[in-house]
């Protein structure tokens, strides 16, 4: 158990070191998140849509979380593509210890860049879609802490699912498109929970309903991580 944890941390540390060095993952994830915000921002702002506060909250939430789900898929794909280059993946799988630990390590390595991207995407999205404005106009303050918690839980869930699928698609053809296509449907409950929580937070601040969604999200995260850790060995073994 302790050995597995140490392995997970070793893998994560290695991935983070490489990520810091090449900035490859960060750029790719930011790129995709950026495109989503850009397109939706242009399409939805300026018309009828943005002037109505009741409309702007769900839009902002939807756009932000679609962008982040995509970014997670891209990040996870990079994480495994990196291993694949120069046959290092086969070497990684040949180390002793449970393969589940490798999944956890990869997940831990994927998370920090994603959280970084999220930390930029969420505020940008809120401003871009006029949600932050709508909130302040209504005389409330943005519930930053609750938003941050929602973001963290949501990103964790996205990363957990996409990292798992990343291990499956890494040596398939057309993996760039395949990974999001496979992972997204599974992500839908998480996307919905985050969208609803974000929307509620924007519309009226903290409420018990938000709490319910966040509990659901936590359950989703835990369930995904546990299931993925158990199934990962079967997915990658020779």
């Amino acid at each position: 158990m302790k050995g597995a944890l140490r392995q997970a941390l070793t893998v994560a540390a290695k991935d983070l070191r490489v990520a810091g060095r090449t900035r490859d993952t960060l750029l790719a994830t930011a790129f995709f998140a950026g495109i989503v915000l850009l397109v939706l921002g242009f399409a939805l702002s300026g018309g009828v849509v943005s002037r109505d506060a009741r409309l702007s909250a769900p839009l902002a939430a939807g756009a932000i979380w679609t962008a982040l789900a995509l970014a997670a898929a891209v990040g996870a794909q990079r994480a495994f593509a990196q291993e694949q280059e120069a046959g290092a993946l086969e070497q990684l799988l040949a180390y002793p210890g449970p393969h589940g630990a490798l999944y956890l390590g990869k997940l831990l390595g994927v998370l920090p860049p994603l959280l970084l991207v999220a930390a930029v995407t969420v505020p940008t999205g809120l401003v871009l879609f006029g949600a932050s404005e709508a909130v302040t106009v209504a005389g409330r303050a943005l519930p930053w802490a609750a938003l941050a918690l929602t973001t963290a839980l949501g990103v964790l869930g996205f990363a957990a699912a996409t990292t798992f699928y990343g291990s499956i698609t890494v040596n398939l053809r057309a993996r760039e498109a395949l990974l999001p296509a496979l992972a997204f449907p599974i992500l839908v409950p998480a996307v919905l929970a985050t969208v609803q929580a974000t929307r509620l937070l924007l519309e009226g601040g903290w409420s018990p309903e938000v709490g319910t969604w966040l509990t659901f999200l936590t359950a989703f995260d835990l369930g995904t991580i546990i299931l993925a850790t158990l199934l990962f060995p079967a997915a990658v073994e020779g």
């Binding site: 798992f164 499956i168 398939l172 053809r173 057309a174 395949l178 296509a181 496979l182 997204f184 449907p185 599974i186 839908v188 409950p189 919905l192 369930g223 299931l227 199934l231 079967a234 997915a235 073994e237």
Partner: protein, 235 residues
């Protein structure tokens, strides 16, 4: 080739059941709100039920494969996935035809509808992955994993109407928290019989597709390893 009695019996039984359902539904009284459209329920609901069943089968057979590593389970999982996809498509098309007269539009962004469309994608992805992997062992393993995760999607689809209120009917027959039937009692027997016939149909199709796949695999194996004498179609 030996005649497969079980398959024949299953096929005959499901056909008989469907015929009876057809008769019953055509003679059933009209609904106060829906008129004769209510009869669509006897197709729509069992279709949806069958697709759930099939997805459950894909996950179950996948799990069995991972435990026992017998190719037999993999073939069944694939057959089940294909059947599920087919009947999801039928559910959606049927539902859309029902939606036009009742809701006035073919499609709405309702939770149930969206999650049903997404389950189409989940199992489309399952079959897509299968088509991308050549090595049979790896294909079986990876698709088992994908299938198991995909099955978790069924409860999401089932609960979608509860979690996100939309226009779609909530469960008329409540299963969670005490069985309850919310519609006119007259429809219940017909619906139950229809569901039972569709269940038989599932097992019939499963056997049929599984046998076909086994034959296909055996032939391929013979072609590949003909002279080498590598065992044919393990499991």
């Amino acid at each position: 080739m030996k005649r497969d009695v079980t398959t024949t019996v299953l096929g005959a039984a499901s056909l008989l059941g469907l015929a009876v359902v057809l008769g019953l539904s055509l003679t059933s009284p009209l609904d106060v709100n829906q008129g004769s459209l209510v009869r669509l329920m006897f197709v729509h609901v069992p279709e949806a039920w069958l697709s759930y069943l099939a997805y459950g089968g894909t996950g179950l057979f996948g799990l069995l494969y991972l435990i026992q590593r017998r190719r037999h389970w993999d073939r069944l999982a694939m057959a089940s996935g294909e059947i599920g996809l087919l009947f999801t498509l039928a559910t959606i098309v049927g539902g859309m035809l029902w939606a036009k007269p009742t809701w006035g539009t073919y499609w709405v962004w309702d939770a149930r509808l969206t999650t049903t469309a997404l389950s189409l994608v989940v199992y489309g992805g399952y079959l897509l992955i299968r088509s991308l992997i050549d090595d049979p062992e790896r294909r079986a393993r990876v698709s088992a994993v994908v299938g198991i995760v995909g099955t978790l999607y069924v409860p999401v689809n089932y609960m979608a109407v509860e979690w996100w209120r939309g226009v779609h009917q909530t469960q008329t027959l409540k299963l969670l928290g005490g069985v309850r039937w919310d519609a006119a009692p007259i429809y219940l027997p017909t619906l139950l019989l229809s569901v039972a016939s569709f269940t038989l149909l599932y097992f019939f199709l499963l056997r049929l597709r599984g046998t076909l796949a086994a034959r296909e695999e055996a032939r391929e194996e013979r072609e590949l390893t003909g002279v080498t004498g590598l065992e044919v179609a393990r499991g």
